[in-house]
Amino acid sequence: MYGQKAVVNGLALELPRGVISGFVGPNGAGKTTTLRMLLGLIRPSSGEGEVLGSSIAHPAEYLAKVGALIESPAFYPSMSGQRNLEILCALGRHDAHRVDQLLTQVGLGDRGGDRFKSYSLGMKQRLGIAAALLPDPELLVLDEPTNGLDPGGIREVRGLLRALADEGLTVVVSSHLLSEIQTICDHLVVIDDGMLRYQGSIDGLLGAQTAEVVAVPEHASDLTKLVEVCTAAGHSARIVEDGVRASAPADWAPELNRRAMAAGITLAGLAVNRGTLEDAFFAMTDDDSHPIRAHLSDPEVTP
């Protein structure tokens, strides 16, 4: 509760072990509040939860196995990256040899002795990830881990997270970059207004969206005829620029090709637009009446 407002309400998350889970929601949805509760930084006003089998009321029982980067990376600005990690290492009684190893792993091997305040945003982010990996965690919680990284850095972090998940680490990534989530995550949790909107595989979410089959006839004069072919097969269709967009499953594209040919239409192009995570996200968070949202609120679809 924040004042009279429930920031997070009845949020039952189940994050599978050994996979990368994306945690998304609009600003103010309760993502950071949820992560802070899991990390023992704030206390829920009521309710209960478990992390790695231990109650969130006793964070000391599980935080030794959890690494976290919450919001922007925060360290002592006048100290070097290495000294900052050494301080956290001493506090958690972790193996001090990991400091150099992790600095190298995140690409700061030659800059570890520089002061934190002299780092670029990307370097600070890398140091934050290194700090999160200090305890050799079973669960890694990262809030916007690619924020400020250049394309090369984003690819490196993506590769690092994939490698960690392949080793059996459970990773939770909170991000506003939906394309990034779609690229690196296997599992997805969407929250809005402090409530769970979806949790399950990304493929499951995307599969719930209706695909679009886009057909471009060789002659523009065939556009209207092509729309009739689609509607005759029971799929709504409309003319868009030089082609026809039909709301139909992806596997209907070959059938459309055959029907167009039978109707004497030669297709110059045929493509399938599968929905993106962004489409699904806005469908869930913007419009209650949207068919995807209605579909996802079906208990048989939402795991």
């Binding site: 990390l39 930084l41 964070p59 002592y76 956290l88 001493a90 009684r93």
Partner: protein
């Protein structure tokens, strides 16, 4: 708690703090000792009493610790600043959330950090004591001060008790700084409130309230530094400060352990 203690010691080893806080401490002690000896004269008129002492007084067994005595109150203020900065910076940098993820047992974190600061404070005070003694011995001959009584058993006893009282008093000021930093979640506000209370506010209250010397914490800490006074005994001072210390420790630990960390 050991982890918190060790990590805070690592943090305190930074050059800026050693040169800034430690240097300020030692420099100030040296300055007060030098001025105290350099201004010593054969006779001191009643109007000159205060910071002026006579050569005869400095030649007594407690002459060696005169400089330390005078430096006491401001040493306390510096210590208040060091403790307030150490705790307040965790909030201003946002580092506190990193620390709490690595050590979620908040009271242990608090106590470990505090113990490390106490060790740091004792080392700095010891260094200040050594600096003062070395300077006093070095300058005494030039002013005709006889130092033979300084190394007598009485002189050494005075040195020990002065250092002891000064250490307790300075750590008391430091505890106040730490508590204010945790409560206000800012070293700047803690320093402002702490110094503002101890110096002008208590001075005004003490002038207006005749019993203020028995109850005002800053007055009591200064009294402790000087080893008690005729009006407020050392025992009473210690007991009152001990009670305050318990209240402050409980309030600070409760605040630190219960409050959400939202930044």
């Amino acid at each position: 708690m050991i982890g918190a203690f060790l990590s805070e010691l690592l943090k305190l080893r930074r050059r800026g703090l050693l040169l800034g806080g430690g240097g300020l401490f030692l420099g100030f002690t040296a300055l007060v000792t030098i001025i105290g000896i350099e201004r010593a004269s054969k006779t001191v008129s009643p109007e000159q009493r205060g910071f002026h002492v006579s050569v005869a007084e400095l030649s007594q067994a407690n002459g060696l610790v005169r400089g330390l005595d005078h430096a006491g109150p401001l040493m306390g203020i510096v210590m208040l600043g060091i403790f307030a900065a150490a705790f307040g910076s965790e909030y201003s940098t946002g580092m506190l959330r990193n620390l709490l993820v690595r050590e979620p047992r908040r009271v242990q974190l608090l106590v470990g950090k505090f113990c490390a600061l106490v060790v740091f404070g004792i080392l700095v005070l010891l260094a200040a004591g050594v600096v003062s003694v070395v300077i006093a011995y070095a300058l005494a001959p030039s002013k005709g001060i006889d130092t033979s009584a300084w190394s007598s058993s009485t002189g050494l006893s005075d040195l020990w008790s002065t250092m002891w009282h000064l250490t307790l008093s300075s750590l008391g000021f430091g505890t106040l700084g730490a508590a204010l930093a945790v409560i206000f979640r800012s070293s700047v506000i803690a320093l402002g409130v702490g110094v503002g209370w101890v110096l002008p506010a208590e001075a005004i209250l003490a002038a207006l309230w005749s019993n203020g010397q028995y109850w005002l914490p800053g007055q009591l800490l200064e009294n402790l530094a000087s080893g008690g006074s005729a009006s407020v005994s050392l025992a009473r001072t210690g007991l009152t400060l001990g009670a305050y210390g318990i209240v402050v420790a409980v309030a600070t630990a409760y605040t630190f352990s219960r409050r959400d960390v939202a930044n």
